[in-house]
Symmetry: C3
Subunit: 640 residues, 3 copies
């Protein structure tokens, strides 16, 4: 498939007389796609029921005339002020019970039926007008679900919807009491109407209560999205897309994706390094102007898993952003590097955010491809270079990676609800595994938690760390697979109700092992491992007959195996992760990469991305800081 570039554009921010020139310049830069409309509700429907599509018609016409394909957004992330007059109770409440007021964006509760209906109605109106318009080549629904912590709402609407959800799931309040173990502190309910949201309790709420609320909240996002999908589907054949964010984990993206056609995400490498990644000061200083070397790749691989490989970068950082604690500029070359990295991981489109930096409002310090004074910003030349390179490049053809990594949103919720140790974070654990694989040059595919035996076919290794509860399909697959698999730590120790599995987990097929006890450890405490490395944060005491491959210094079993399946009883440090990759991926060609260099294989090429701030030598080539290189790949040289 031929890869293309896009850009996000807000015609409503600029004089109409500038649109044609903007469109021409986009086209000249080699841009194919333009996303519009997703924040424009107050211009599309200035008063309730009074629509104004004239400007949008003109914008579409102008952009299409320049040869651009349009992604049209539904504007439900920014309901206009009059919507609040209609639905004064549509706002979310935070966990402290405060309303999250109008004045920015995402000021709605997913559980509010009235606003949900109004948003779907808006999608219908747009669908009727533009659904069969060939210039509208794709749709974006809403914008960045979960951004600004907007999944969990404690509003009246949420409370009532939660009670309905519980009634449907448990059928009887007695069943709920039993499932949650409400006898524990006399927390038993007589009716669903007595059940409140799990905020503001005197001490921690029942984890089962919180877990149910997490599942409910995720379902509310799915249902919210589905309402608009339901409105648009009959009206258009263009693909439906949502633009997810980085490390937003409060809803199940796989579940949302089931209703959509293409996944996309918004990639802000430098902001993300600063505001949502662990890492010591040296790491953050080293990658200050590049972003973490694995964060983008991880999300590329994650979102590639959503819709049978169809995915985009809907928003690509093109320069300094405005919303992180500190906002440095990308190193020269990084915009190109990020773009090519996305393509190497299979993106169909990389779309820059935004065309021109706005001179007003919240994001006026967020760079675009153009400066607010209509001069080219630094990113434009790099984007243009990518467009030119794309023209030279043969199609980027995807190929299955040698390693599969399982990712499960519900496990994140489980460990947030019941961390047991302040540093136990699911994403961090999975990301540590991902980084370990990538340090050895391996390409990775991400699988959903209900991956089946069929889904595992073709992989040479499977990693599934930290799964709170293993799904039935995955358990079945593990029972028969011959692929080396790593499970653990803290895997399958809980039921889906977040109670303790009995018999004690992990209850893996043909692996006689049980976790007799767990310990969480403060950051400075390491438990050394025989042969090198250490565990930290978390360590389990195993009992059972499965033989140990790796043990603690005192001989305690740390990694056990039945030959294929491996269970890991602690949180590895970097050195131990390296040993684990060596062990599980022994049958895959690997090589330890220079610090900051990363590889990615397509069907035909190997790409190298140098995230380091200095040049790195690789494969006989010197790759400059922020540089990209690629080589044709013969079958025998493929490593990961």
């Amino acid at each position: 498939m031929k890869r293309t570039l896009g850009v996000c554009y807000y015609p409503e921010h600029w004089p109409q007389e500038d649109w044609a020139q903007d469109a021409a310049r986009m086209a000249a830069a080699g841009i194919t796609w333009v996303r519009i409309g997703e924040f424009a509700w107050s211009r599309l429907e200035p008063q309730a029921g009074a629509f104004d599509f004239g400007w949008l018609d003109l914008a579409i016409e102008t952009l299409a005339q320049a040869g651009l394909k349009i992604v049209l957004g539904t504007p439900s992330a920014t309901p206009p002020r009059w919507m609040l007059d209609r639905f004064p109770d549509m706002l979310a409440l935070d966990a402290a019970g405060q309303p999250r007021k109008f004045g920015s964006r995402r000021h709605y509760c997913h559980s509010h039926a009235g606003y949900r209906q109004a948003a779907a109605q808006m999608a219908t109106v747009l669908g009727k007008r533009y659904g069969r318009d060939p210039r509208i080549a794709a749709w974006q629904i809403d914008n960045e679900y979960g951004c600004h912590d907007t999944v969990l709402s404690y509003s009246d609407a949420a409370r009532h919807a939660f009670r309905d959800w519980l009634a449907q799931h448990y059928q009887s309040v007695g069943a709920l009491n039993r499932a949650w173990g409400n006898v524990f502190w006399s927390m038993e309910y007589d009716s669903f109407d007595q059940i409140d949201l799990p905020n503001l309790t005197v001490t921690q709420a029942n984890p089962a209560h919180e877990m149910a609320f997490r599942r409910f909240a995720s379902d509310q996002v799915v249902g919210w999205n589905a309402a608009q999908v339901g409105a648009l589907r009959p009206l258009t054949d263009a693909p439906l897309i949502h633009n997810y964010m980085g490390r937003v984990l409060e809803f199940d993206h796989f579940a949302v994706a089931r209703d959509l056609d293409i996944a996309s995400w918004d990639s802000y490498p430098i902001g993300f390094l600063s505001d949502r990644l662990e890492g010591d000061a040296a790491h953050k200083a080293r990658y200050l102007q590049q972003g973490d070397p694995d964060m983008q790749a991880f999300h590329h691989d994650l979102y590639r898993a959503m819709n049978k490989g169809r995915w985009w970068v809907m928003e690509q950082q093109p320069g300094p952003v405005n919303w992180a604690p500190y906002n440095p500029a990308p190193l020269p070359g990084m915009v190109r590097l990020w773009s090519w990295e996305a393509f190497a991981h299979g993106a169909e489109v990389v779309s820059y955010f935004r065309w021109r930096q706005a001179p007003f409002a919240q994001e006026q310090m967020h760079a675009g491809l153009m400066r607010p004074d209509d001069q080219p910003a630094a990113g434009l030349a790099e984007a243009t270079a990518v467009a030119e390179e794309l023209r030279q490049m043969p199609d980027v053809a995807h190929v299955q990676a040698p390693v599969a990594l399982v990712f499960d949103y519900a496990s994140d919720w489980a460990w947030k609800v019941l961390p047991q140790g302040a540093d136990f974070d699911y994403f961090r654990l999975v990301f540590d595994a991902y980084k370990a694989l990538r340090r050895q040059g391996l390409s990775v595919d991400i699988l959903p938690p209900d991956a089946t035996g069929d889904d595992l076919v073709g992989y040479k290794a499977v990693f599934a760390p930290g799964l709170a509860t293993l799904s039935a399909p995955l358990l079945a697959a593990l029972a028969t697979t011959q692929i080396p698999c790593l499970i653990g730590p803290r895997s399958n120790l809980m039921t889906s109700e977040l109670s303790t599995a009995l018999p004690l987990g992990p209850n893996l097929p043909d692996l006689d092992i049980a976790v007799a006890r767990v310990e969480s450890l403060p950051p400075a405490t390491m438990r050394p491992v025989a042969g090198g490395g250490a565990v930290l944060h978390w360590v389990e005491t195993l009992e059972g007959s499965a033989p140990a491959v790796i043990t603690g210094e005192a001989g305690a079993k740390l990694l056990v195996t039945n030959g294929t399946l491996h269970y890991l009883a602690g949180w590895p440090d970097t050195a131990l992760w390296d040993r684990l990759v060596d062990l599980i991926c022994a049958n895959i060609a690997r090589s330890r990469l220079p610090d900051g260099l990363r590889l990615r294989d397509t069907a035909t090429h190997r790409f190298a991305f140098n995230y380091a701030p200095e040049a790195q030598d690789w494969n006989g080539q010197t790759i400059p800081a922020a540089g990209v290189a690629w080589w044709p790949l013969s079958a025998d040289s493929r490593t990961g």
Copy 2:
């Protein structure tokens, strides 16, 4: 007295068919006592007024049949959900004005008259049914007062009760205005009904206002407890007990204890080290799996002071807990060590929490003596060993310690309200003194703040650091005693209304000294002391004729004395504390102990407890890490 073991058990969590086996196993392990019922209200009274005692009758019968003695708890810490329908305003409010909702435990305001009455009524119902039942050998009232910050409530009920309390204490609002100095910022009131709770003021509230609220809140706990005592006393002769917590200081435990027969507390050494003790990272790492070497002993000594020496450990940590930021396992041996340490300090009973780890709800990660899969957990063997050792051991007979240490809850409130320096904490100061005494092998008795001359008889040294206001009895005792006493710093400088004492304190008998000025210091600032050591956090400028025993480097008086009474004008560092113990305890045999080793003398034996993670040599014996040793004690070898 013969010491015994107990365990906490929740028959309502388990199938009835398992109870008999559980009871048999408890007995087999050497357990004497079993505590039940304290969270079971929703099973005892599933609907308002509809009681169900069948299961409890059966549980009592089953446990008693196995030879176990029962502690029956009143369930008022966990009112069932229907109680909120009856009293929607029974919830506490936090200082920010948020309700502290149903969904965990302790969801009530001590000032709510309706729920107080309902809880007392439940005690009456239980007392009528079981008060004369010989199988019920003791009662526990409520559970862990003050846990989860539940003493201070800002509810309407609290506001109204506070006004009544003020009216009773001050009789006229004019008297209150004068006592508080409300003229200061035109804070004068015209009536008690104008007085609000001291939260959410623009800047700090009048400290006298806050101190009155603290006294009131403590009295509300006393009154709450007394209501149930009043219900049970006519109905039973079994002793009434409450289980206090560690470092919960918001109410006066001495005052609660006056209505009870036995004090008990819940000892979680590893959790407490992590979540409620000062200490640098090295200290916390060293004792990660043992707990602070003095925290348990301090509370043993404190609660021994409550009811003429009658005290228990009602809940003893038996393995990893769930509620601290990090939850490692105890070193092998620690469960035994903690148990023996309690006995050496005079405990009648050590009761483990809990029999079997629950597989659901909030505490499912909290270890028991049994695992959730009904297999023995690590703690069981150690408990069983203690039971066996108890059988071998002659009675543990208490003896008066050589050193008395005064502890006063109101001083904690005073310095919380008016810290003057961010690091001035009363408990920390007293605990530093306690640690210094224990580093030299001294056994300590704790005395209440109104200790009399009679109470001091027999001690060789008295320490009373940081008393906001000295009580009349203690002042009278100090006027005549010949025992070396250490008073200060910041002692008797304030009135009980938290205004400045005039003449300037400490106003000690026969000690011509006044604190002319105080300074608080940031952590990095030390003021060296002539001869070794330093003061930190706090230093006073003394004037008056009392001679100095220790001075600052520039000659300022730091420790002054009249020969018997010593006043200390600063917060000592460790080296200075050691000097002070040498000085005040010069007439007591002492010896500097290895790091982590602690001694405790009974009437007949000296016990040594090795909290260190390595073996320590002592008295010609090598005591392993987490080890206990004891020797018969001849009168001349007794040191502390």
Copy 3:
């Protein structure tokens, strides 16, 4: 002008029989002024409408009899409790929506019309009674505007007043929508009544919205003050004064000052170092008992700029305070040093807070000149020495400083609203510049942001760092001045509506330069500068033809100039600030001072103040720690 001393006194706190002796002692100590009344509303009007002036009459008479001149305060900072019965909605709300309750002080919202009226009425009552009384030589209006974060209120009164303010400023809601760029996220309003205060939004509110709220809130303070000025002006000829605080920036002090006659401020050097200044631990430890060596001088210079040079220190710290996290005592000599420093900077009066330490209520740990037991505190002797020295000293005559520094409250609001980097703080930037000037012995005058060409006459250098928007008068002045000026970083890049300036700023006269891009940097990231020093926190990319005087290591322009005007494109470290002072102040005699020593020139003398904790040699003289020295100044020896 002859300089004099004053003191703050609260006769209502003490028995009437003590007043005469207090007054006599004040006079004996050389004190000229006494401030009274500013917190005494509950005694002046114990019940609504029932006044009691008897005690105040007597206090005035007693003080005046001793020869003291009286500053009478209006008591509006402490409305009595009955005022809340009258205006239950007069309280401010914090940003979380919580009321800021009665029980301390400043418990009112500046926007509450009813209380504003009541406060003005009280001023009228006082003015009628005492306005022509010759013993009342000055008035203080209210107390410490903005203290305890009391400028920004989110009450209903504030919301309604904000809407009115917006309506008056923008006239039409369409104009507001355009000015704020509300199209950005469909934030457009249909009427002013839809506009809420900018708190509790889901993510950041529109910076234009927040900036308007900031301007409004400042105007409310101005209007509040003006209401009392309006009440008093017709009734008295005595000067009207307000006592500002240190680093309180939420309202425009220049605007308040326009209605007053004399500026004053409350100088607490040690508290301010601890609770409101940046600085590493070594700096804070070194100056723990002296205060920052530039903080007082900066505010002296700032408040001297308010009312044509007429200013006082209304409250001078005389010993340890009570309100900082840690409260050490001043080094001996510091009370004298602070006093003389104020006079050297032009203060007419230095008034100590307070005469006698109160033995009750919030500030009972705050030292006075007298102890609570009526003995002299350490500060009294130093104050008395200053009084004696003043008698010996010729008049302190002010002279224009060689350097002007522009200070703009609105720039602080702008960068608080839109920091772009977590460490970008306007005050910190300006204060860094001020410190750099003072390190070289320069005296500084502060100018308002709308300084004109006339205002610049006589200066040899002008520093104007960090101005969000340059005023028209200042821009005009810069266009013609021949004085070396330093502008930048981040200067004139925004409009007054906090939108991006177009063409891109700084748009300075005859300086072809534009800021093409900005970057904010985390604390550990430094960008070295060719020739020495570095930039941190903030760096801009310049384009344009103006030649560079200083460049980054890679050659990027950092300081550009047209010969007179210099634009600085980054936040300098200390070494770079020194270079900048060398460059801009090349024509002024300077000398690098020992660490902690500071100079200040009057018309006739050079003063040296040694803030260091050790003696420093200067001008052939050894100045002890906390010492002051002065020399007659000949015109040719004047440096700064």
